[in-house]
């Protein structure tokens, strides 16, 4: 007996003889039931969102978790070539936002970055498969911004030459950050790795004297990137600032980092609350100074320095006096003798968003001092650009397009502290990358990449943490990847992989209708049959599935 093209119910028995495709005749296209539909919504993980370099953290952690260390390191340095450095000195924007932190402990991203960064340098950056272009790019400054830009430009195939005024390359990495925070050996290895891509670094060449920006352009460099950093110490603007015994912070660090045993007295005061101030205090301490103190005009909460550094300084016996500002340097016999101080209280927030210090009248007091290190801020030193025509903004930084970092001169780009003002290494890496992309798109005439607006960033509430087990955070300091491999892998496996489908197959398992398909390593939905029950969206451990009104799709 046939009906509608298939054998149904044999005449000898009540049996429906339907099989294979014909079974579909007994089903309905239940997709018509839907009022909401599930969608794969690849979203941004909060760690990546917080990172100024937008490093693809979850992706490299996923590879590491699968024991693909080489691939993980390769992916990391694709986004951050200075991973070995940021893994040591970054203020670490990512970990406080890590969703795992609300579940048990955040992933030790910074430590993993260090391990993978060191590993990557040991592996070396490969020159093979790189294209070769004839265009030449000059970079002024071999600090993190310049090095980052050089890395990306070299990978695009350009001929890159970095001009460095100081005897050794590295910029703030070598000359600013102290050895105990960032060993010079690491900086040197990083630079060697970048040089191995074909990048040329000319040290002891100061642009602005014999060699000007315009000269570089005339010489045949297709583009010039200014990555000169922010090397000018800001002045205290108080009486006695020019007295012997008052040393600007960056100059102090530069001299100390050059190997000079800088002469400081017994009673050192550092003015300021940023990294330069803390670094100066800790370096002074290591020079054998008996008592080092820091004066900061706001409270601890407003200190811009890396929190761990402040903690370390205090542990080393460095005294920090909060809510104190210097009003006058006291001089005796032509040398620093003390500081006249004024106590402060906090008022309303100022432009920086931090609460403004307000002097407390009548609260003056004096301290004895024989050395004062003034580390209250930095600004770019752009004297070398006089006569170049490059537009400089009121705050002393170089103005640039936010998308490509091109200046008012079409062949001149800027990256790093010279553009942002004093900032972090990762920001320098990020702007170096953006400038490199900007240069590349300009030289090839293609569209510049613009970051998409309004992306969904995963919050803890978007996850379904019932699918995770509590695991302790691994201890990953004090050794390299070789020794810490299993701990590193275990730590990476703690990553939730927020906001991205990794085909964990949870939704595929739970779906009552079996409409979850596989496409390119992620899930897809059979909308012919999906009833829109929403279980997949509710249960996705990493918040990668959302529900949308079906009417939007009609």
């Amino acid at each position: 007996m046939k009906i509608k093209g298939f054998d149904v119910c044999d005449e000898t028995m009540h049996v429906q003889v339907v099989e294979g495709e014909a079974l579909s005749i007994l089903t309905s296209k239940t997709g018509t039931w839907r009022s909401v539909r599930p969608l794969l919504a690849e979203s941004v993980a909060p760690c990546s969102h917080a990172c100024p370099g937008t490093i693809r953290i979850r992706e490299y952690l996923a590879l590491l978790g699968e024991e693909k260390i080489k691939e993980a390191a390769a992916l990391l340095v694709e986004d951050n070539p200075l991973a070995a450095i940021t893994g040591r000195v970054c203020p670490c924007f990512c970990e406080p936002d890590c969703n795992r932190g609300e579940f048990d402990q955040p992933i030790a991203i910074k430590s993993l970055e260090r391990l993978l960064g060191d590993y990557a340098i040991k592996q070396g950056f490969s020159r093979s498969d790189l294209p070769v272009r004839k265009e030449r790019v000059a970079i002024i400054g071999s600090g993190p911004a310049g090095l980052s830009a050089a890395y990306y430009l070299a990978r695009y195939g350009y001929q890159v030459t970095i001009f460095e005024a100081l005897p050794t390359a590295g910029g703030m990495l070598y000359w600013g950050v102290p050895e105990y925070r960032l060993p010079n050996k690491i900086v040197a290895e990083e630079i060697e790795a970048i040089k191995s891509l074909g990048v040329e670094i000319k040290t002891n060449v100061a642009v602005g004297q014999e060699l000007t920006l315009n000269a570089l352009l005339a010489e045949g460099y297709n583009a010039v990137l200014v990555a000169a950093g922010a090397w000018n110490d800001l002045k205290l603007n108080i009486l006695g600032e020019e007295t012997e015994g008052v040393i600007p912070g960056l100059k102090f660090l530069k001299r100390a980092n050059s190997g000079e045993k800088v002469k400081v007295g017994d009673r050192v005061f550092v003015i300021g609350g940023g990294n330069t101030a803390i670094d100066s205090a800790r370096v002074a301490s290591r020079l054998g100074v008996k008592q080092v103190s820091i004066l900061y005009r706001r409270s601890r909460a407003e200190m811009p320095a890396v929190a761990e550094e402040v903690e370390a300084a205090l542990n080393e016996g460095i005294e920090i006096q909060f809510l104190v500002a210097p009003t006058e340097i006291l001089v005796k016999d032509g040398r620093v003798n003390g500081i006249r101080c004024l106590r402060m209280e906090l008022g309303e927030p100022d432009d920086s968003g931090r609460r403004k210090p307000i002097p407390i009248a009548g609260s003056e007091f004096n301290v004895d001092a024989d050395t004062i290190i003034a580390a209250i801020g930095q600004a770019p030193d752009l004297a070398f650009l006089d006569g170049s025509g490059v537009e400089i903004a009121r705050d002393g930084t170089i103005s640039a397009s936010p998308d490509t970092l091109v200046t008012n001169l079409p062949r001149v780009f800027v990256a790093g502290d010279a553009q942002t003002g004093p900032a972090t290494v990762i920001q320098a890496v990020a702007t170096g990358k953006k400038a490199a992309l900007g240069i590349h798109s300009w030289l090839t005439g293609s569209e510049a990449l613009v970051s998409p607006e309004g992306e969904r960033v995963i919050k803890y509430e978007d996850l379904n943490v019932n699918y995770f087990e509590h695991e302790p955070r691994q201890e990953l300091e004090g050794a390299e990847m070789e020794m810490l491999k299993s701990a590193a892998i275990a730590e990476a496996q703690r990553c939730f992989y927020c906001g991205s489908c990794n085909e964990c197959n949870t939704c595929w398992f739970l779906c009552p209708d079996g409409v979850i398909l596989s496409k390119d390593g992620k899930v897809d939905f059979d909308y012919d049959y999906c009833k829109g029950c929403g279980i997949c969206a509710e249960e996705c451990p990493r918040g990668a599935v959302i529900l949308e009104e079906e009417s939007k799709w009609q």
Binding site: I3, V8, C9, Q16, V18, E19, L26
Partner: protein, 403 residues
Amino acid sequence: MAIEEKTQRGTYELLSGAYSAAAGAMLSRAQVVAAYPITPQSTVVEKLSEYIAKGELAAKFIPVESEHSAMSVLASASAGGARTFTATARQGLALMHEVLHWAGRGRCPIVMAVVTASLGPPPDIAMEQDDAPGQRDTGWLQFYCQTNQEILDTIIQAYRIAETVSLPVMVVFDGFIMSHTYEPVFVPEQEVVDGFLPPRQTKFKLDPDHPWRFFASPGAVAGAPYMSKLRRRVQDAHEIAKEVTKEVQEEFYQHFGRRYEIFECYRTEDAEVILVAMTSVASMAHDVIDEMREEGKKVGLLRVRMFRPFPAQEIAAVLQNASKIAVIDRNVSYGRSGILALELRAAMYAAAKKPPIFGFIGGVAGLSLKMENIRYAIEYSYAHEEPEGEIIWLGIPAWEEQG
């Protein structure tokens, strides 16, 4: 082999009706037996479980907890391709009712021995015959047996018929009068039975290699139009079953030397009054017919053997030649009349000649139906032009009367 030789291949045994049924099921090589005890059927099942326990019958015996489950087990076992058997009676048959429909419309070739007795209340095991006829709408074939030999033989035939037309078959006989009385029964050799009844072959069964759906709805797509055709097909199968039964009966004769008809006529050719009856009533009536013929009365007997499908046309062709028809029912279809009487009246409506039908009801609730009752029924029919009503109560006075 000549028929005479075949009839020698076996032995005579003194068997009760129940044991005859058990022997029939064993010889038919039933594979799955699920049954629940109920008087007067229990000895059928006891005997079968003995056969199985001793290894004489290679079957799976399932001592279920109710008749409803017994039939449910068999319906699914049947879908699974097995040859199945059970026996029941009275309340047990009534309890199975829902599943009888399932097996009938589901076209499961199950064979069941039904030992008729009364439906309660009270829960008495009295002689009556309302249980089996009461299930005539369920799609099952029904054969009503007269002798213990016939019980054994009909069960074997039943499997042939059932598995050919894919319909379940009831083999019905009287409780106590037949189930518990012994007659000499010729039990044929297994080999002879195997020659007549091969193992069940079915095109479709539950099989992991094929996702077929048994007893299922065709769903929204095909739905009612399709299911209606299926219902009609069941009726078609019943009509085919009648012809198949005749062929099977003929073939049975060739193998075993015993002949059966779907209904049997005894001295009806020139009869003025034909008595229509089933089972032991019919076998008693034989003697009454002979007695009355001695007295010069032209009487005859029509024994209905195949009750479903009801061979209306053929029976009408015989009965229309009589002047009067008397029918004895040991059952009541309350609100109407005796069930056999109902069937006959419907059958005769299409006949060219329509003799009056005297519908007698007697021998219910354990009241014995004796030969004098049968004689009375025939004489009454002779004496009256027309029946007074649809029911003439045989030996059962009205409530107000004494006795």
